[in-house]
């Protein structure tokens, strides 16, 4: 049962398209699990469409239509029309975007080790302002206590964890703002997998450095990463 939902701010920015990609990924992931937020998004999208329709009309020249038709005519016919067929992966238990980002295979990801029970794998969401990762906490394990410089969003994909305030389950959308301290502990009976995105990734890196981050994958990190750590 989902008890933590994105607030109106996140939902509105998502529907409007102004939410940064990594945070939008978190909202989309929550929507995968939450029908009541899907209804809200439907209505908020409707608001967007209404505002869109009310705009004063900008001038459009006939030549622009002609240009478009030329483009359409020069396209190979095969590229057209088949848009309805989209391979949707019904096998995956992961939300669509997470599945795509990981190729549905968590074992193939590069996992970094944080302490004994926690693994972290960065995802490329095309958002340089934030660091987005999958976080794996072994049953009963805990993420070392940390403070955030920026805001952190976490969505649980599997298992559950708790902190001082509450216990969270699959689909929950948990926001921790800057200055809040917390120490998530995975439940004893099941490993926990989360999607998490954090503002100000450099601070995150420093935080990892203080924890004595060890890199367990055999790939070398890009240049910029070396400097950051």
């Amino acid at each position: 049962m989902i008890r933590y939902h994105p607030d109106a701010r996140f939902l509105t920015d998502y529907a409007a398209g102004s939410l940064p990609t990594s945070q939008a990924l978190c909202v989309a992931t929550h929507l995968h699990y939450c029908a009541s937020c899907r209804v809200k998004i439907r209505d908020l999208t409707e608001l967007g469409a209404e505002l869109f329709s009310r705009q004063p009309a900008a001038a459009v020249e006939g030549a622009e239509f002609d240009r478009l038709m030329q483009r359409i005519d020069s396209q190979p016919a095969a590229a057209e029309g088949s848009a309805t067929i989209r391979p949707i992966n019904v096998v995956s238990i992961l939300p669509r975007a997470v599945h795509k980002l990981t190729n549905g295979n968590l074992n193939e990801l590069r996992w970094r080790r944080i302490g004994r029970n926690v693994r972290l794998s960065r995802l490329n969401v095309g958002d340089r302002q934030r660091e987005t990762s999958l976080l794996f906490i072994k049953a009963g394990g805990s993420v070392p206590e940390h403070k955030h410089k920026g805001d952190e969003i976490t969505v649980i994909l599997r298992g559950s964890f708790s902190d001082r305030e509450d216990k969270y389950a699959v689909g929950d959308f948990i926001v921790r703002t800057r200055r809040e301290t917390h120490r998530p502990v995975a439940s004893q009976d099941q490993d926990c997998l989360c999607l998490t995105t954090l503002d100000e990734p450099i601070e995150m890196s420093n935080w990892l450095l203080r924890l004595g981050l060890s890199v367990i994958n055999r790939f070398s990190w890009p240049q910029a990463q070396h400097q950051a750590y």
């Binding site: 398209g17 869109f52 329709s53 009309a57 900008a58 001038a59 622009e64 975007a97 795509k100």
Partner: protein, 219 residues
């Protein structure tokens, strides 16, 4: 259908006030889109283009501090309408009204173009190309065709009418903030920074607006 809805169908509200009434002629655009999808009907497509292209362009111009606004508007129009043409077959009138469908396409294309632009700028500065491999597809985050369990056109029309009727009752500062968030591609935080307001103030203005529009109320 309730009687008031039937009555408005008799004349073209678009021509009367031009204000968000495109859903009233929804049936006509559904018809055009299906002719585009099935017969690749160019006359029907031209009609859709003529009606929606000016909105798409305005929507492009709303993005603040573009380096080349005309180029951006032209690109957004081309990309959006190309998609309308190629994806017309996937438009399902049971799930969405044409104006909602086209809005989501324009919104997604705008995010996409802005993202490409930003990447271009970054690449120019850092002198090496960003690794695009494995980067998430925009459509996997901002769905155009999922969540069909809750997307039905009757519910949409109901909320659309509600929105249409109550938008004009919003206090200016609330309408202003909504306009910024939806049309100017600014997140709550960016609006707050621009207006030098605390984030909480922006949030509460939006929340008040939404509850006036009977859209969502936070738990």
């Amino acid at each position: 259908m309730n009687p008031s809805r039937n009555r408005t169908m008799e004349f073209d509200v678009d021509q009367l006030d031009g204000a968000g009434a495109s859903d009233v002629r929804s049936g006509h655009w559904v018809d055009c889109l299906s002719r585009v999808a099935i017969q690749r009907d160019r006359t029907a497509f031209r009609e859709v283009f003529d009606h929606f292209a000016p909105m798409v362009k305005s929507f492009a111009y709303k993005v603040p501090s573009l380096e080349q606004p005309d180029q951006f508007a032209e690109d957004l129009l081309q990309e959006t309408m190309l998609k309308v043409w190629t994806k017309a077959a996937s438009f399902d009138p049971k799930l969405a009204s044409p104006s909602t469908w086209i809005f989501t396409i324009a919104r997604n294309m705008r995010i996409d173009l802005l993202r490409k632009q930003a990447r271009h700028v970054v690449n120019m500065v850092s002198m090496h190309a960003e690794d695009e491999d494995g980067e998430v597809d925009l459509e996997d985050i901002w769905f155009e065709d999922e969540n069909s369990d809750v997307f039905n056109v009757l519910a949409q029309q109901r909320s659309r009418r509600q929105i249409h009727d109550s938008l004009k009752t919003l206090p200016p500062e609330q309408a202003y903030v909504l306009e910024k968030v939806y049309m100017e591609d600014k997140s709550h935080s960016e609006v707050a920074a621009e207006l030098s307001l605390p984030l909480g103030t922006v949030k509460s203005r939006v929340r008040l607006a939404l509850s006036k529009l009977k859209l969502i109320v936070d738990r």
